[in-house]
Homo-oligomer: 238 residues x 2
DNA sequence: GACAGATTCAAACACGTGTTTCAAACTCCC
DNA sequence: GGGAGTTTGAAACACGTGTTTGAATCTGTC
């Protein structure tokens, strides 16, 4: 088992032991935070993996929370750099842009080359937020939501209200995040599910098709939301 | 601030102080586990809310994990009793059964009268599983998944493969769970979102419409999954 | 009322946590 | 090579954790 520190130091680019230790800490911390979350992660575990002393975190970052914040933004930028959202190019058909949006989103949160670190950390932030969530929303979640809105606006019919667009956006993001947030359950329900690149591509196509098909139907059924008179609310009677 | 214990004792039905303490512990534990999760919850906090001694948990339940397991199944059964899944009645149109499935699911995980305890605990189990997850999958998640499959089988066209049914099911559950798992984000993106009974009903209708519309499209487009030749994989450039 | 058993209680135990301390080792520059 | 400044290291600190202990109190029964 080679420590992160060794990997960093052997990989050349050793700009002094200060930066090497800092790098090793960031890498080890990314693994640990993704595996067990901010609160459950221990500085001792991180430092052991980075082959650094327990005091290293406080020396280089001040405290655990600052280290976490740096890891979070670094992983977020890394994921966005490796799998960027599609450009907002009006020349590209909106359906294609939606597919690209879904694909890049899925890859950011699930692709193996990132060990799904970003996705796991995001999932934890949503279910069990830390003080870092506000910045995360501002810097990466909200921009993403706005981009999806813009794609959906192009896709939907003229009469579609902002509210329907918002709901449709959440339906799409919900489908994507399901595979990220519920991975332990999906693996138990469908043990044959590989969660590899091939399946990611299959998921991309399914979510895109499912959502495009849904949007076509919603546009076709027109704007009035007063439909379905047959079902009164809550009339289950066994 | 009245403690759970007081509430229990004042509410009559005091079948001896043993059972009263046990009940108070279960209630307090449900609140705490839902608020901060199994690992972050402390026995001292639970006992303080239950107005019981620190040793009470070990005396009545053995240890923290056993208490957690009991809370989990109790809350799960409570949610299922208050908002049961629709019966598998072939006389009811599948579209209606889907709507009832979505509504009861949303109510189980989000409705205020349960303080969304069940939903929060489930969300935590999925993102950060404990040893209780296996039983949860076996006793409540898998049966639910099977019921959804049965509804979808009735809804989809004849040629629909098991795999497409599975994917569609996950698309639907993903939409439902999004509002549960991502509540902190949704509240930040849309501060006006009330998360009340009215919105639950609106969500029920949206998710049902969206999904029915999607399924109609998928059935119509036929079984062959080899479509969309125009987009080669990963050709983003820029 | 007295006794056995059940229940509660304050205190303690053993351990793990984030953080701090300060001396030792190292680095860099002259 | 020496010394200032940086970085590391082992140890300790203060606190919070789940669990245990054994005495005190309560409960029901004769």
């Amino acid at each position: 088992m080679s420590t992160t520190r060794q990997r960093v130091r052997e990989s050349g680019a050793d700009a002094g032991s200060h930066d090497a230790t800092r790098r090793a800490l960031l890498d080890a911390a990314a693994d640990v935070f993704a595996e067990v979350g901010f609160r459950q992660a221990t500085i001792r575990d991180i430092c052991k993996r980075a082959a650094a002393n327990v005091a290293a975190v406080n020396y280089h970052f001040g405290d655990k929370e600052t280290l976490y914040a740096e890891v979070l933004t670094e992983q977020s930028r890394l994921a966005m750099r490796l799998h960027p959202s599609p450009p907002d190019d009006p020349a590209v058909p909106a359906a294609i842009r939606l597919e690209q949006f879904v694909r890049s989103f899925l890859q950011r949160v699930l692709s193996a080359e990132l060990s799904a670190r970003h996705g796991r950390m995001m999932a934890r932030e949503m279910v069990d937020p830390t003080r870092a969530l506000d910045r995360l929303v501002k810097e990466s979640i909200r921009p993403n939501a706005l981009q999806l809105s813009s794609i959906l606006r192009d896709l939907a019919g003229q009469g579609t209200t902002e509210e329907v667009l918002r709901l449709a956006g959440m339906s799409i993001v919900g489908q994507i995040l399901f595979y990220c947030h519920c991975q332990p359950v999906v693996r138990r329900l469908f043990p044959e599910s590989p969660y590899d690149a091939g399946q990611l591509e299959q998921l991309t196509r399914h979510i895109t098709d499912f959502s495009l098909s849904a949007l076509r139907g919603l546009s076709a059924s027109g704007s009035p939301s007063r439909r379905r008179p047959q079902t009164k609310r809550r009339r289950a009677r066994t």
